[in-house]
C-alpha cells in the first residue's frame, strides 16, 4: 500500500513529493468490474488510456508497448500526479467555503482517496491514500506542516523554490513511517 504526498505551491508547482510504501496490506475492495481486463496494448495511446483509467494497477499482467509515450518515472507516477493535480479543483472549491486546514477525504478518483491540508500561506499538502486512516493522516499533516514552517524560516528559501533539504526529507519520512 502506498501513500503519495505532494507539497504544492500556490502556483500548482510541486516543491516536494514523497512516495511512502507502508507495510500495511490494503484491504481488497476490488470490484468484479475491474477484473478480467482485456490486454489492451494495440497502440501507444491505449497505454495512456489504460494508465489513466487506473487499469494498469488493477491488472498486473498488463504491459505497455510503444516506448514513445513512456511517461517520466513510470506511468503510474504520472497518473498519480495527474490525480493529485485534478483533485486541486475540489480542494480549491472547498477551501473557498471552509476555513478548515485539514480537508479529510476531499476527493476520490479511481482507487485513490485524496486528503489535503492547506496552510495559511496557501500551500497545499496533498496526500493520496487508499485506506481510511483519519487520525494518522491528520497527525502526519501536522508534522509535515511543522517541518515545512521550519524550512520556511530559512530566509534564503522562497515560497516557490523546491525543498531540497535532506533533514526535511528524513523527518517527513520518519513521520510517514510513524503515522501512515
Amino acid at each position: 500500500m502506498s501513500h503519495h504526498l505532494f507539497l504544492l505551491s500556490p502556483s500548482d508547482t510541486p516543491i516536494y513529493s514523497l512516495t511512502h510504501y507502508s507495510t500495511k496490506l490494503p484491504q481488497s475492495t476490488s470490484s468484479s468490474l475491474s477484473s478480467n481486463l482485456p490486454t489492451w496494448s494495440t497502440s501507444a495511446f491505449a497505454g495512456t488510456l489504460t494508465a489513466l483509467s487506473g487499469a494498469s494497477s488493477a491488472t498486473q499482467s498488463h504491459h505497455v508497448q510503444g516506448g514513445s509515450v513512456r511517461m517520466g518515472g513510470g506511468q503510474d507516477r504520472h497518473v498519480i500526479q495527474m490525480i493529485a493535480n485534478a483533485s486541486l479543483d475540489v480542494i480549491e472549491d472547498v477551501m473557498r467555503k471552509e476555513s478548515a486546514m485539514y480537508l479529510k477525504s476531499v476527493d476520490k478518483f479511481n482507487e485513490w482517496t485524496v486528503s489535503a491540508f492547506i496552510t495559511p500561506g496557501n500551500m497545499k499538502f496533498i496526500l493520496l491514500h487508499e485506506t481510511k486512516n483519519d487520525d494518522g493522516i491528520r497527525s502526519f499533516f501536522h508534522d509535515v506542516w511543522e517541518l515545512y514552517v521550519k524550512t520556511m524560516l530559512n530566509p534564503f528559501h522562497t515560497a516557490h523554490s523546491p525543498i531540497r533539504s535532506i533533514v526535511f526529507d528524513t523527518r517527513v519520512r520518519a513521520s510517514a513511517k510513524k503515522y501512515l
Binding site: 482485456p38 488510456l49 504520472h78 493535480n85
Partner: protein, 1349 residues
Amino acid sequence: MNSHAFAALAHIQILVLPVGPIPRAAFEKYAAEIRTFDSIRLGDIPAGMKDERARFMPNPLSSGNLYLSYPSHPAPPRHMSLSLFRPSHFTLGIIGVAACSSSYSLASALKQFENTVLDISPEGSTFPLAKVCFAFEDEESAGSTGLRDTLPGIVSIPSVMGNKKLYIGTLLADLCSHILAELGRVYHVLESPIGNEYLNSAIFPILPSPSEMPLSLSSGNIGYFSHSSQPELDSSSLATPGIQIKRSSTAGPGISHTASFIQRQSTLGPPAVRKRPSAIGAVSSHGRLYKVLGDFFLLAGRTEDALLWYAEAIVLFKTGQDPVWHASVLEGMATVFVLDTWSAGQGLQSSVSNNGVKEPWADIYEQLSQAVALYHKAPVPSELSQDHSLLALTYCTAVMRQTSLLFCTWSTKGWGALAFASMLQPGSTSYTQKTTSDSSWTNLERLSIMSGVSRSQIANTVSQAHGPWLLHLGPHERLTILQSMASIYSSLGYKRKEAFILREVISCIMDLIVCGREENDVLWKSDVGSASIGNRSENGDEVNIVGKGAVGVRQNEILAGNQSILKLLVRACKVLGVDLEAVGVAKATDGTSSEIGGGDSNDCPVEDLEGSADVARESFGWSELQVGVIREAIAVAEALPAPDPLAVARISLSALRTMHSVLASSDQYHLYQTAGRALAAMRRRGDAPAVEYWAGHPIMSIALLPLALHRLPIENLFSILTAKSSATNSLLGGITDPFLYNPRKSSGPQSKNLIVQGEPIELTITLRNPYVFDLEIQSISLSTTGVEFESSPVSALVIPPNTLYSITIIGTAKTRGTLVFRGCIVQAPWGAPREFLLPVPTDADQNLFARRQSAVKCEIGRTKYWGLDSRPWEKDERRLSTLLPSLKIPPQFLQCVVVPEQPLLRIRWTSLTHGAVMLYNGEESTIRLTLENISALPIDFLRLSFEDSTIGPAQEALSEGELSVFETYETEFDLLHRKALSWRNEKEITNILPNQKVVLSVTCVGKVGCAHGTVHISYSQVNREHEEPVPASEVFYTRQLSYPVTVTVYHMLECHDLRLMPMVDVNYDDINHRASNSVHLLPEVDDPAEWCLFAIDVRNTYGLPFEVTFEREQAGTESAAVSSTVPPGSMSRIILPVKKFRLSDDQISQSIPTLSDRQFVVGKSKLSIEEEQAQRELFWYREELLKIVSARWKETNGDRHGYLSLRQQRLTLPMLKVLRTDVVPVDLTLIMDTPDNSLQELDYSGGKYIASPNEMFYLRVEVANSSLSPLAMALDLMFDPAEQVLSEGVLSNMAIGKLKPDETKAVEVPLCFLCTGRFEIGAEVRTTGTLKDSRVGASRICVSVREDG
C-alpha cells in the same frame, strides 16, 4: 449527452433513416420535423387491439405521455444481450424518410427501406418492433408520383398537404401504437414457462430466434411471431393470419392481464400474477419477468403499473441472488418516481419546492446509490468478456444517471420543472448551457446554494464511473461516457479534472485512429495492383508504394476532425499551464520582411521587451506533468490520420519557447528534432513557411563598430576656418571647464555616430541561445529606416548551446542623412521572418524597467492569485498592467548620421624607421611624411596638430593650480616655446588633388621626459561647389590621420650652480696663475665695476664628450662666446663676463605674466608687497640674463648639435645685486698732487691702486644721478683698516645735496695711508629723507700701499 438522459429508461427510441436518393438537406429538414415530437400523449395512441398486444395499450382518457427520443444510430449488435434486460436501450421503431419523385417510385423506396432495415438490425434481434417509411413528395413532382397507389409499410405525404406536422404526429402515434402492441407480444412469449427459463438463463439473457426455440416447450401450437426483422406489421392492414394464430396460442399463461384489468384492480393484480407463474412450476423466480413487465409499462408511459411491478420484483430480488437485475429495478423505480413527480407538478413548480428536512431528490439519489453499489459488487459468473462489457456499461450508465439527477437539479437552480424537463429531454432545453456558461466561481457557487447540491457532490458522483472497467467498454461507449464526464466537469468548473478526462478522450480517439489505420493497411496491402491509395507515409505524403508506375495520390483530406482533436489538446494543456499556441502562425503567406516591418509591429516589440523583463517571474504548474502532456501532444499530432506538420511544429516549438527552463536537455533535443522533421515535411509538401520565429527574443544587442580612426569623420564648425588659429589656447587651455564635475556635460546629447556615405560599416549583433542544442537561424538581416542602407543578410547561422554569440554585418549607407537601426529581422529555418526591435534604453525606460523588475521581485513571494488564476497569461492581464504604466514614449533606436563622402589620405612613406626618433636633449630633427590622397576627392583643408607625452602632465599640473607663479610661467613657457613636435612651414601645402603625393616636414625637438608623440593630420574637402548647397549646414567634417612617433631623448649635459660674481673681487693674480680659457675675455673688461662674471658648471653625464659653447649677445658690447669641451663624466666651469645692466622700474614692477588666457587665476601667494616686488625683480632680471646668455652644445666627434637649456637655473638675491647696476653710480678714484700742482690719478693695475704710505692722496668720489628723478643724497665712506688711514673731515653722512637727473657731483677727501698693506675703501650713497634701506649706490676700491708705490 442524449444517451445519458436521466429518464432514458422511459424513452422509446425511434431511428430516422434516409431512404433512397434523398438530398441531405431535404432529409435533415424532414427528420427535424419528425424530431420535434418528443412526447405523445397517451390519449392520442390509437388502441384498437384486443388480444395480448393490448396489454400495454393506454387506457382511454389516461393522462400520461409516451416519451420519444431519436438517436442517430441503432445500438451496436454487441449489446443485443441487453435486449431483455434494458429494452429502452434499443431502437424500438424505425422511420424511413424517402423523397419520392417521378423517377423514384414508392415501390422502389419501400424495397430499399426494407433492405436497409435488414442491414442495420442484427441477426436474431428482437428489435425493432415497428417500422414505417414516410415518402415525402417533392414540390416539383407533385401529383405525378403515383402516390395514389398505397403500398403497405409506406406512407406518402404529398407536398400539397397543409398541416404536415399534425399528420406526422398522427403517424407517429400510430407507430407507437404498433410498438406497444409488439411489446405486448414479446412479453407474451416471456410469460410462457419456456420464455421464463430463457429469461433466467444468463445474467443478460437473450431471447433465441424462433428456429432455436425448443419445440417441446413451445408446444407446437405456439404460432410464434415471425422474425423480428420482418414483422408482419404494416400501417394499412393490421389483421394478418399470423397474429390470429398467436392470439389463440398465448391464451394460456397471461390471459387475465389485460390492461384494463390491471388498471381497475391494481391491488389485486400482482398476487394473482405471482401465484400463477409459480404454479406453472418453472424453477426460476419470476423477479426478472416482473422487472421486464415494469420496464415495458414504463416505456408505455403507465408509471403506476410500472411501479407496481417493480415493487413486486424488488420483493423477489431481496434475497440478493440477482443483484444486477435488482439494481436495474431500482433504476427503473427512480425513473418512475421522477416521471410521477413531473406529471404531478408540471403546472405548479413552486409547490414541489423543498419544505421538508430532506431534499426531495434524496430518496431517488439513495435508490440510485444502491443500484450503483449493486452493480459494482455484482459477480460476473461467466468469463465472457461480453458480460463484463455490458455490466460495465450498465454500471457506468447508472452512475451517469445518478450524476444526471444531481447535475440537472444543480444546473437548473433546484428541484423544479426545469430540472425535470432537462432530465426528461436534456437536448430540448438550452437552459443548462445558459446557466453554466458563466463559469466564474461565484456563479457556480450561487447555483450550488440555490439548488442545494454542492459541486463536489456531483464530482464525487460522476467520478464513480471512472475506473479500470472503462476498458471493458466498447470504444464508442467509452468515448460517450468519457465525453459526458468531461462536459460535466467542465460545467462544474473543474478544469483540471476535465483536462484529465480529456486526455483520456484524446487517447481513446487516437487509439481508434491508430487501430483503424492498421486495419486499413492490411486492407490495402491485400489488393495490390488495383488503383489503391496507400496511406503509408508518416509524414503525410500518401504515396502508393505497391502499385507499379502509379502516381502518388493525395486523399481528399477532411481536416476538421484533426482540428477538433488539436483543440482538445490545446484545451487540456492550457489547464496544466502549457500554452501550445505560444508560437503564432504567420499571417502573411509570402512572409516578406517589408510587411512585417510595418503596421502592427509597433506594439509587439514592446511586448517582447516586457517579456524579456519578466524572465524572473515564477513558473506555473507541475513541470513533470507539463513535460508529459507535451510529449503526448506531439505524439498525438504526429499520429493524426492526415498528419499535420504545422501543428506538430507549433506544439513542439511552443513547448520549447515557454518551457525550456524546466525541460530536460534530452527533451529539448527531442522537441527540436521533432519540429525540424515537421518543418522539413512542410517544405517537401511545398507549403509556405507558416511558423513565426519562436525562440524568444534572440537579439541581445546591436552595436555599431567604431570606424577605424583614420576613417572616422569629425564634425567641425565652419567658423574655425575663418577664426585665427590660436594654438596657445588649445595647448594651454587644458581643462577649460571651471567645474570639477559638470552634470550638464554628461547629460548632453549623446555623441552622434558618424558614418560616411558610400563606405562600409560594421555592426555587431549579439545573439542569445538559451537552449541546450545548436540553434539554427536561417537568416538575420538588419531592419533600418531613414537613409537607404545596403547590407547583405547573414544566413545559415548556428548558435552554440547556452551561449551568447556575436555576428558582424557589413553594410553601406547610400545617401546622406540619418540612418536608424531598428533591430533585426530573424528567420528560423522554414519559419516566417519576424522583426525584433531593439531600442536604445533611455533613462526613463531604464527607470521603468527597474521598477517593473522590482515589482515582479516584490510579488514573487506572495500569491494574490492562485491555482488556475496564477497561470502566466491570466496573471499578467490582471497584475502588472495595472501596477505600472506601460511604455508610452516611442522607443529610441540606434541612430547614425551619414555624412557626405570624404576624401581619404594615407601616409605613404616616412623618414623614420619603425616610427622612432632618438635625440639628445635639445637636439632638433626633422620628420618627413609623404601623404597620398587615395580618394577621388580633392583635399583643400589640411591642418596639423601635435601631441606628446610631456603635454599631458604639464597641463595637469597647470590645471591643478598648485604651482607658484614662477613655476607656472616656466611650465607654460615650456609648453609654448619648446614644443616637442611642430610644423614650421604651415603654409606650404593647401591642396592635395586626387592621387597626389605631398611631403610634410615636422620638426622634432629633444625634450627630456618626452617618450612619444603623435602627429595628427586633419584634412577635408571644404569647398564643394559641384554639390547642392546645404542651407543649414554649419558644420563640415574632417578626417584625421595620426602618425605616432616614439621618441627617445638622451639627457647628457647638466648645468649647475649658476653664479654671478662682481668683477671687482676677481683676483687677477690668481687668474693669471690659472690658465683659464676665459682669461682672454677679460681684457675687454674695461671697468670692473661695470661687469660681472657669469659662471656655471656643466656636467656631462653621457658617454661621449661634448663641446659646450656659451654665447653672450648684449647690447653695447661685442658678442662673445666661450667654449669648452666637457669630457664624459666630468664637469667644466664656464665663465663669461656679462656687463651689468639695470632694468627700468616700469619693467620690473610688472607682474609675472601668464602665457595662457586662463581666467580664474587667484593669487595664492601670501607674500608681502616687498617680497613680491623682489620676486618680480628676480624674474625680470633672470629673463633678461637668459636673453643675453645662450648655450649650445655640439658633439665633439660628430656633427650633432643643439641647444642647452638654462632655464632650470635660479637667480638669487645676491646674484641680482651683482648683476644690477646701481641707481647712483659711485666712482672712486685716488688722486695725488703732482709736483706741478696738477692732480694725477694713481697707478691702477690688476684691479687696484698702488700707493705709497705716508703720502697725501685725494679720494675723489664722483656721484651721478642716473635715475629719472632728482635725488638728495648723502655719502658714507669706509676705510679698512680704518685706524691706519688718516683722513680729513667726517667720513659719514657727507651731504652731497640734491642732484638732478644726469647731474654729477664730485667730492674729494684727502687721506693718507699710515702703513703699507692692502686697504679697501668703500663708498656708499644713501638718499636722504627715506628711513630704511635707502642705499642707492656703492662702490669699492682696493689700494695696495707699498713702499715702492
